[in-house]
Amino acid sequence: MLEGPSRLQGLPMLRLDQRESPPVHLPRSGGLRVLTKSTLLTVLLPAVGLGVLVGAFARSSSGIGWIFALLLSSAVVTAFAQQTLP
């Protein structure tokens, strides 16, 4: 498939665009509401709880190592998440 880059146009993560100058999108609120009760229970509370645990543990030991690990995992999660961009 990489033999002819023009065939890659259909792939969203590599889609090529014809615009010369990119439009800047400023932050704005809105969009679909995604939170359900299960999201709250399965994501928000565990994220806060885990954050408190990691933070407390990091404070009693080498904090920078834990924060570095979290930053590294955030980079990996971001790269994975961006593959899903429509």
Partner: protein
């Protein structure tokens, strides 16, 4: 699979990693010029912002991130496959000039800057470049071998990715806020 395909995929991935490593190292170097107290103060404010934005996202109030909502220019295709792979890899590994999509992305440059160390900054941004490049290569491989459009399935996972990214943002924000002593 042809050697040509592999070489282009390797160039693409390498360019993406190099872009991440160089950007992260540069940010870490510049960040190191700031006193630790300043970086901690900025980090604590950003931690609160991360908790707020991540929570809003999880509560269903989406805030579009500041971004260039664009793709790599089509004319790059005409400059040859290897050049296309190099430029595309550099652009996606850098990330800031293409579609960002998630607030969590800002953790990468800000984190690389605030750690104040070129090696740590390079590792954070380089990991992003590596995973972003390998993700595309793996998808292409899967599409070639399985003859199915994996990218469509990935796009269907967008909402799940939003929730995951917002959760990670909250986790990082809470942990950072506690570590920096709020």
């Amino acid at each position: 699979m042809s050697r040509s395909w592999i070489s282009k995929a390797a160039v693409y991935a390498l360019a993406s990693v190099v872009a991440g490593l160089v950007t992260g190292a540069a940010l870490g170097t510049v960040g190191g010029l700031l006193p630790l107290d300043v970086r901690l103060a900025v980090g604590s404010m950003l931690a609160l912002a991360a908790i707020a934005v991540g929570s809003l996202e999880l509560f269903g109030r989406r805030i579009q991130p500041l971004q260039f909502d664009c793709e790599t220019p089509q004319r790059w295709v005409n400059r040859g496959a290897l050049r296309w792979a190099t430029r595309n890899g550099l652009t996606l590994g850098f990330g800031a000039t293409s579609r960002i999509g998630f607030w969590l992305w800002y953790v990468i440059p800000l984190g690389a800057f605030l750690v104040g160390d070129p090696v740590a900054g390079g590792a954070i941004y380089g990991a992003y470049g590596l995973v972003r490049a390998l993700g595309a290569v793996v998808i292409l491989l899967g599409m070639t071998r399985l003859k199915t459009d994996i990218s469509d399935r990935l796009i269907q996972s967008y909402d799940a990715a939003r929730v995951l990214a917002a959760g990670q943002l909250v986790l990082l924000g809470v942990a950072t806020a506690i570590v920096v002593g709020l």
